[in-house]
Symmetry: C2
Subunit: 359 residues, 2 copies
DNA sequence: TTGAAAGCGTTACCAG
DNA sequence: CTGGTAACGCTTTCAA
């Protein structure tokens, strides 16, 4: 294995000092045209690349940021990451990526690794369970700037790029109510899931505003282990709901994949969406446009959120002390899965006695 | 900004030498229980974290790998990245991520940054255009191990985790032929796209095997700029095809998103899939299962490919000289969009004179 | 215009 | 068991 070529190698080849080589490479003024040219040529010939570790160590300047997401192949997070990459590349930052997989210990490990690697800042979309952890304190103690994306953490006033989750849910549920649905079920995630709870709040608020009593039987917990199982979880949760005596007439799911499960169940039971069952998802993921009927869902502008998170981080790095917090306004994307009146378009059966009177 | 705490700070606080502190922290044997304990406690108290830059520089051991993909929010690549993350975390490697966005210059920049950052190895899914570049030579010259994922690069014999793309296309097209389709169109990407060309080859091979003359009018180039525009491109390409005098009776698309565009066009023209138009996509992305009818597609096991790529990289890093190359067997996932006979299930109209006789 | 030397935070070697 | 010293590759300061 050939050793890395360093300043020394160039210096020796040219019979000049290391200092001179460094100067030549860094475009300093106090150097003659010829030596500079010779140095540049030799560096090129030897395929010299500066050792960023040595440079950073010496200059005490580090140009790496760390990004932590629960899962890189999750649609929304991959989108946030994309936004971060866009900006990071422009600013010449390198991006270290870590997955927490919703595991607090792993999240902690990653943070510690990042700290060791002298990241200039961190952008983190905390694990679902993070509100019960102090993982971020590590960064606080080290005075490493960080921006939280998507998930509010405790009552913390950390710089944060959020989405108005409760309101997103509120808009979704109110929309269902306006469409005439009255028995709206909520497909949630684990109890400790901050996101799920925030949306639950919006769900309840919308019911309350319209004087619809909250029915705990209409709330089902889904076990969101990985990307693959979500649809199935949605399927089974909806199944339980629809086989009960008191059935809901609409489903509000904490994400689109769960909603897709509801579609599958509806198909199986010959329920027409949106006539027999209104469905609204969350995230505006790729599949939402491709489901039939197209799924009404809450938009989450991941790329923009990622880009803003990076901007905030940069602000924080350069010492901007103002409150770096932004909450993106919730926006409901109304499509056909929740529009009563759109039903005929997708009707497969003339009628279905069992569910026809569900309003 | 408080300075980073280092060995020196601990040493001073405890009135021992830096050497001793280093020993204590690193679990060396030649140190007394008490000093060790004191050191550990003080380190904890001061919130000490080793500076990985200094450690690496000194030990000349680097524990970072670089990953380069065209786009992090592209379904397949995010999935490859996931596989890499799985393994990297287990091996305690840090992962630097870079996007080429199919831009050779950007790809080169990223590679150079990675080299500067002393990555131990690189996993790269080259840009579409990479077969015309020498970007990988940078790594070769630096003797940095790398693994190419997904896209074969030139005639290069670089370690590689591939997918049998031509055969995937071959299976797809042969399947269509077996289902009775004869006028099969191909929705391709740019001419320089290695992937698109590999699939094109499989397409032509399948036609040849079954003595179906190749019709260049059935080949449409789509401009795949970003995630968003793909469906639209597929829509317009299919539109051109279906408005021509000599219409195809099936579409084989280079990816699922393009295929989704074909669905939209079919819906608009009231074409029944699969009866009037068979459709096969590529990638088995999330949407493929959710399209109606479900889309027949070619599987691409991104996670497994990513995991294997990391394993290969590790082999390469420890100096394993054997040929680290694996081509995943192509597998066609047959669903309803290409099964003649399944059509009634999704039929919306009794008949459609214009296209009914398209077989 | 050039070079010698110090030092970034750490570990390895050798001496005590 | 402990500590001094050199070195990793580079930049910076100071002196020539």
């Amino acid at each position: 294995m050939s050793k890395r070529v360093g300043l020394k190698d160039i210096a020796e080849a040219l019979n000049v000092s290391i200092t001179t080589v460094s100067r030549g490479l860094n475009n300093k003024f106090d150097i003659s045209k010829e030596t500079r040219k010779a140095i540049l040529e030799k560096a090129d010939e030897l395929n010299y690349r500066p050792n960023a570790y040595a440079v950073s160590l010496r200059k005490n300047e580090y140009f790496t940021i760390g990004v932590i997401v629960p899962s890189v192949d999750h649609y929304f997070f991959s989108t946030v990451l994309k936004g971060i990459m866009n900006k990071a590349h422009l600013s010449n930052y390198l991006v270290l990526i870590g997955e927490s997989t919703h595991d607090l210990n792993k999240e902690k490990e990653v943070i510690e690794q990042f700290v060791s690697h002298c990241v200039t800042g961190v952008i983190i979309s905390p694990s679902n369970k993070s509100s019960y952890s102090n993982n971020l304190d590590i960064l606080v103690k080290k005075r490493i700037p960080y921006i939280v994306v998507d998930r509010p953490v405790k009552e913390s006033d950390a710089p944060c790029v959020k989405y108005d989750d409760p309101n997103g849910a509120f808009l979704a549920v109110e929309h269902l109510i306006e469409q005439g649905y009255r028995k709206i079920a909520y497909l949630k995630s684990y109890d400790y899931c901050v996101i799920s709870n925030a949306r639950f709040q919006g769900y309840k608020d919308a019911l309350a505003k319209h004087n619809i009593p909250f029915n705990p039987n209409f709330v089902k917990t889904c076990h969101l282990i990985d990307q693959e199982n979500q649809e199935e979880e949605g399927f089974f949760a909806t199944k339980q709901l629809m086989l009960a005596v008191d059935k809901p007439d609409a489903i509000f799911a904490v994400n689109d994949d769960l909603a897709a499960g509801a579609y599958r169940l509806a198909e199986k039971l010959n329920l027409n969406i949106p006539r027999d069952l209104g469905v609204v998802g969350y995230s505006n993921s790729q599949i939402s446009r491709h489901l039939k009927p197209q799924l009404t869902t809450v938009e989450q502008p991941g790329i923009e959120m990622g880009e803003l998170a990076f901007d905030f981080l940069q602000q924080s790095i350069i010492g901007n002390k103002s409150k770096l917090t932004k909450t993106f306004d919730a926006r409901l994307i109304v499509r056909d899965s929740s529009i009563r009146g759109a039903e005929t378009k997708y009707k497969k059966q003339k009628d279905n006695k069992r569910y026809a009177n569900s309003i």
